[in-house]
């Protein structure tokens, strides 16, 4: 077998046809960003290593017809050397580690097959030739920037060889682990040694179980238990009983989440909720024939180590939730929310083991872009929050909404049905992902847990989705779930929880040889779904998959013995009682406390003019335009977008929520929004949570969603909850979830938590994320043709504010630019919040509203400016009309307070009476008029001009920070 090496270069741009070397240019930019200016030029090449029995003539055809573009690229067979006579050149080649998924290689193999020859292996690499003097230290820095240790190997110089693609075969060697005679300390050590992340009580419970069986466990049994019982899979903290001390008052919860988040849903008992907190996503009614489901997941730890792969598999993973809900939903919209440290940092400020926040941001966005776009699912909603406490633990929330017929919302497994794994093959990727996600990160994680990082292949998932939907339509399987965190172990374990299952592990298709039976069982390789198939349907369903090149393999069957039995080549390698696996986890009781913070308001000098402050607030990373990100996502594929993430006269103004219309034959739509503000949590997580709920609801109300058909999702991301104060802040947030959901009549339908988001630096210093609760909303829009956007529509229209402005600058962005926190956090008035939302909806439904914008981060001045520059129009604001509390006398509070439940509404003069009549009962006032002259002028109640800025300048301040 001969190995052929192909190098593909851009053709120099000298001829009219040439294209410039975009890859090289990007890398040169990256190197300059590192502060290295001795590199003058970078040339990039794509490298393909192909093993196959063919001659040079055919090799040349592969190079010319397949690998290189005939017009703008050249190919070279063999290893090219840098042209002589130029400045010193350094060659860097970046290869994937053995066994890492390489989608391009798979496609090249197929394509060579189409050309009539087969080949044994294909691998791809990136090659960069750096021209210019660099020293070893600089080279190291560059390599670190260009490659990722977790998944890639770097080869430097012309003579170095890439790693071999061949891995040894695995031979069965059954491993048992002696635990029954160990003491508590030894059990803890064993857990640590095996990376099980199980604590002493859990290890003791497992020991007792095996003592009762009279034998020692095998490694696969311990790994399966560790995975099923991991924080990531079972959410033991949120389900534990909690003794909460709140300013000295004692409150007890038997099961924290059940009595708060779930409790609200139970109390509301909405008939339009179809399946909540049970399945992979929460399901509600859409119309008479269809249901929609929504799930938001986090993929934080993997994204910290490999931003691109971590975020890509984050979106890939969450897509499999709707696909694995009921009998499978079709994904129709993505949402992505990220938390990063502020990007303008020098490398000296970055602890070892942490990637630069700008690199994380770029990598995460690219990962979501490439996976989401390839899947053909529009990414329609999102947010980015910057705070330096996310330095060690960036947060990546990926969400997806799916649609399915109402009679396909539930699956049911029966004994005797076959366990079939569909989609991607199993590899070593993602091993220990679930357990690893359940601990704190340290500088060592990069090397120790590199295998926990997973690599995605969106096209495999897309093919799997296409075929599964066809099989679903024909009713060829009876239950489905995804292989998410916990892999086959968790998927088969969950599906067979009530019945039992037997799996023959050697039948699982592998990406490469060498995996042990345990690795097969716990691998978190992507793009795999598990279905239950009746034996009589096997032939039919197998054909559907085979027709479109999707791998589907029967790996076992569901039984009736209530046991999980694992075999490898006929040998039983593990057997656990399903009851112990799923219900054996000891129940926890934890202590939590929260003491109200003693904070005060800063003494800021009153000013006559707030132009500078407004521009500064606009240029904070949190408020700044995210257009750089949004444009990289396809937000229109599937043809259902009604309100896009950007709108207004130049298609670049902010919208409050996205609206999609999932069915071509119906004008019904879905509005998607989110709310999150960790700064408020620094004052009190209770009010942070209510503000988040209020904002997420306002978002969807602003575009036209019905207030009585809004479902909520919670995503708790917290630091180390073994600390009583940290857990206390979480309890405060959970309490607010209950109060908010009940008051608004908006049930939580699904959620997920990610705890232990803290990073321990080499010197022992801990960087903990702030309490971060993402609230996502999904609301029904009855008629998308009545949707409203935030951009001002025409001069002469009247501008109203609905909702009360209070002296609430605590945690505001205005205080942030002054490096202050303050004390007066916005407090949602739950009595008026719902009423206000209902009235705004009525006004939109009656078509009284020309535009509507949520007044939140940055306050009234920001909200009005956004509406103005989005519409390309000016506004004359008179604060005399501002409904406010008596203590809200300061101008800066009136302009920048982030009080909740406020909407800015543009109304045509002829609709004034109707609108005003409708608003009776909630605080509202006319605060201005839309003007032609493209300036924002705000006058105080005394008639003094306090802001006078051109909308062009405001827009520029808003767009500049993240124009990467």
């Amino acid at each position: 077998m001969k190995q052929w090496r192909f190098e593909v270069f851009s053709r120099p741009a000298t001829s009219g046809a040439g294209s410039d070397d975009a890859g090289g240019r990007d890398v040169l930019g990256d190197i300059k960003e590192l502060g290295i200016d001795t590199v003058q030029q970078v040339q990039s090449a794509r490298v393909f290593l192909v093993e196959g029995d063919f001659d040079e003539v055919f090799a040349k055809r592969i190079g010319g017809e397949l690998l290189a573009d005939p017009v703008c690229e050249n190919f070279y067979i063999g290893k090219s050397t840098a042209p002589a006579g130029l400045a010193k050149a350094t060659i860097i080649e970046i290869h994937l580690k053995s066994g890492v998924t390489d989608p391009v290689a798979e496609s090249v193999m197929t394509a060579i097959g189409d050309m009539g020859k087969s080949c044994q292996t294909v691998r791809t690499a990136r090659k960069y030739i750096l021209f210019g003097e660099i020293n070893d230290k600089q080279l190291k820095k560059i390599v670190r920037r260009l490659s990722n240790d977790c998944i890639e190997v770097v080869v430097i110089g012309t003579n170095a060889e890439p790693p071999s693609p061949h891995l040894g075969q695995y031979e069965l060697e059954l491993k048992t682990v002696d635990i029954t005679k160990l003491g508590e300390q030894q059990l803890v050590e064993l857990s640590k040694k095996m990376d099980l992340f199980l604590n002493a009580v859990e290890m003791k419970t497992i020991q007792d179980y095996f003592k009762s069986l009279g034998r020692e466990p095998t490694d696969i049994e311990l790994e399966a238990l560790a995975q099923t019982w991991s924080e990531h899979c079972v959410h033991k903290t949120l389900k534990s009983s909690v003794d909460f001390d709140f300013d000295g008052e004692k409150i007890h919860f038997d099961n924290l989440i059940k009595e708060t988040v779930f409790g609200a849903t139970k109390q509301l008992n909405k008939e339009w909720c179809i399946s909540v907190f049970k399945d992979n996503a929460g399901v509600i009614e859409f119309d008479d024939t269809d249901a929609i489901c929504f799930k938001v997941e986090t993929h934080n730890h993997p994204s910290a180590l490999d931003p691109y792969g971590g975020a890509a598999t984050g979106i890939g993973g969450v897509l499999r939730d709707p696909m694995g809900t009921g009998l499978g939903a079709k994904p129709i919209a993505n949402t992505d929310i990220f938390c990063f440290a502020e990007p303008d940092k020098s490398f000296d400020e970055i602890p070892r083991g942490v990637l630069h926040p700008k690199r994380i941001a770029k990598g995460v966005v690219a990962g979501v872009r490439d996976y989401g776009n390839r899947m053909g699912i529009p990414t329609v909603n999102g947010a980015i929050f910057f705070d330096d406490r996310y330095l060690g633990n960036p947060l990546v929330f990926c969400g997806n909404i799916g649609i399915m017929p109402r009679d396909k919302c539930f699956g049911k497994v029966s004994g005797g049905e076959l366990v079939m794994v569909v989609g991607g093959r199993t590899g070593r990727d993602g091993i220990h992902g679930a357990t690893f996600s359940s601990g704190a990160l340290t500088g060592e994680h990069e090397t120790v847990f590199s295998h926990a990082v997973q690599i995605g292949n969106a096209i495999t998932e897309k093919k799997t989705l296409d075929t599964l939907l066809r099989a679903r339509e024909q009713g060829l399987y009876s239950a489905i779930t995804d292989c998410g965190a916990g892999g086959l172990s968790s998927a088969v374990g969950e599906m067979g929880a009530e019945l039992g299952a037997e799996v023959e592990l050697e039948k699982v298709p592998l990406k490469y040889a060498g995996l042990s039976y345990t690795e097969i069982w716990i691998s978190e390789a992507q793009e795999r779904m598990v279905i239950a198939v009746k034996p009589e349907e096997l032939e039919k369903i197998s054909k559907i998959f085979a027709d479109e090149n999707v791998e589907a393999t029967v790996i076992g069957k569901f039984t009736n013995d209530k046991k999980l039995t694992l075999k490898y080549q006929g040998t039983q390698v593990g057997q656990l009682d399903m009851d112990f696996l799923h219900n054996g986890l000891p129940k926890y009781s934890r202590k939590a406390n929260w003491s109200s913070k003693k904070l005060s308001e800063p003494a800021l000098e009153a000013k006559e003019n707030y132009n500078d402050d407004l521009l500064k607030v606009f240029s904070t990373y949190n408020i700044a335009s995210k257009e750089w990100v949004i444009r990289q996502y396809d937000h229109e594929v599937q043809g259902g977008s009604v309100v896009k993430p950007l709108g207004g006269i130049a298609n670049d103004g902010p919208n409050d929520a996205a609206v999609v219309q999932p069915k071509f034959d119906s004008d019904k739509g879905i509005a998607i929004g989110c709310g999150m503000n960790p700064l408020y949590g620094d004052i009190d997580p209770y009010w942070m949570t209510l503000a988040g709920i209020d904002e997420a609801i306002r978002n969807v109300i602003c575009v036209g969603a019905r207030p009585d058909r809004i479902a909520l999702l919670d995503n708790f991301c917290w630091a180390d909850c073994k600390k009583e104060e940290t857990l206390g802040s979480l309890v405060r947030a959970a309490q607010a979830c209950f109060d908010g959901a009940v008051a608004f009549g908006t049930p939580f339908i699904s959620g997920k938590d990610s705890l232990n988001n803290n990073f321990i630096c080499d010197d022992g210093k801990e960087i903990s994320i702030p309490a971060t609760l993402l609230i996502s909303t999904m609301g029904i829009v009855d008629d998308v043709k009545k949707c409203v956007t935030a951009d001002l529509k025409s001069a002469g229209n009247l501008l109203f504010i609905v909702g009360l402005t209070k002296n609430e600058l605590g945690g505001s962005h205005y205080y942030k630019i002054k490096n202050q926190l303050g004390a007066n956090v916005p407090k949602t008035d739950l009595r008026t919040a719902k009423l206000t939302a209902e009235k705004i909806h009525k006004a939109i439904d009656a078509e009284f509203v020309a535009s509507c914008h949520d007044c939140s981060e940055g306050g009234l001045a920001v909200a009005i400016s956004e509406m103005a520059f989005a519409g390309g129009l000016g506004v004359l604001v008179d604060l005399q009309g501002l409904p406010k509390t008596d203590d809200c006398t300061r101008l800066d509070a009136q302009l920048f307070s982030e009080s909740c439940s406020r909407y800015i509404v543009e109304v045509r003069p002829e609709k004034f009476n109707d609108f005003a009549k409708l608003m009776l009962g909630v605080p509202f006032g006319q605060i201005g008029q839309v003007t032609e002259d493209k300036n924002l002028i705000i006058k105080s109640s005394l008639g003094k001009t306090v802001i006078n800025a051109s909308i062009g300048d405001l827009k520029d301040a808003w767009q500049r920070p993240l124009k990467w």
Binding site: V71, A111, N549
Partner: protein, 261 residues
């Protein structure tokens, strides 16, 4: 034949097939989505259709280069049948990824049928995938999909949309052959740099046809503007009937009606 049959080609990673089918149905065609494997298995299936559309997406992940793997598959399994399809007077439309495929199969990428590919589509000058709306000025007189003089507004969503020619001669030949169908312009019809020309395409080219005018490929997505609520700021517009993408499908159907029924 009494009805207009359109085939919307599916393949691994093609992802605009459903909305493309919908757009064809709105225009009055019976549209079916069929996987390329089925066509390769039974190329006679092509005979039942007068319109073939290769929709947008990321066929085979756009691995190696956009559209390349699917183009390779078509070259090695369907080239002759596709040529017959076109020679029999039927029509082919490639949208976004479908345009890339048509160029890379040579159908739109050559200037001589027997020659080699001399036109290609490569990475945007910005180096990024971008979703934005663009104005398109029609120019070809022979292309059956367009209406002369009617500037249209459509979204693009691609990372590789820059049309490039091997040399000036190839470009001149394509121009002389009236094969340039659409050019990116601003609202008033003027050419300009990014973002007016969103990818740096030669001569602001957004779409090309073959020498018959019956095979067209374009980067923008007409199937994404078949209802007025798809317009990026429809809430500002008075005209609630606008749906520029419809014209392309309507013209395709009209052509088949006139020539085949």
């Amino acid at each position: 034949m009494t009805q207009i049959n359109a085939l919307v080609l599916r393949a691994a990673g093609i992802n605009c097939d459903v909305e493309t089918q919908h757009a064809l149905q709105l225009a009055g065609a019976e549209a079916q989505r069929i996987h390329v494997n089925r066509i390769i298995g039974n190329p006679d299936l092509l005979d039942g259709f007068q319109i073939l559309v290769i929709p947008g997406g990321f066929s085979y992940g756009d691995d190696v280069a956009a559209g390349k793997i699917l183009a390779n598959q078509i070259i090695h399994h369907l080239a002759d049948r596709l040529r017959e399809f076109i020679e029999s007077g039927k029509i082919v439309l490639g949208i976004c990824n479908g345009f890339q495929v048509l160029v890379k199969t040579g159908i739109l990428g050559k200037i001589e049928p027997a020659g080699k590919q001399q036109i290609t589509i490569t990475y945007n000058d910005s180096g990024k995938f971008e979703d934005r709306w663009v104005y398109l000025e029609p120019s070809s007189e022979k292309c059956i999909f367009i209406e002369q003089g009617r500037r249209i507004y459509l979204p693009i969503a691609h990372g590789e949309g820059k049309v490039v020619f091997e040399n000036e001669g190839v470009f001149e030949k394509v121009k002389a052959d009236d094969r340039i169908v659409f050019r990116y312009v601003d609202e008033d019809g003027n050419f300009g740099p990014f973002p007016v020309n969103p990818n740096g395409s030669t001569d602001s080219i957004a779409g090309l046809c073959d020498s018959t005018g019956r095979v067209m490929g374009l980067m923008p997505h007409p199937e994404r503007f078949v209802r007025f609520t798809q317009h990026p700021h429809w809430t500002r517009l008075g005209d609630k009937s606008r749906a520029d993408g419809r014209t392309i499908f309507d013209n395709a159907v009209k052509y088949v009606k006139q020539n085949f029924l």
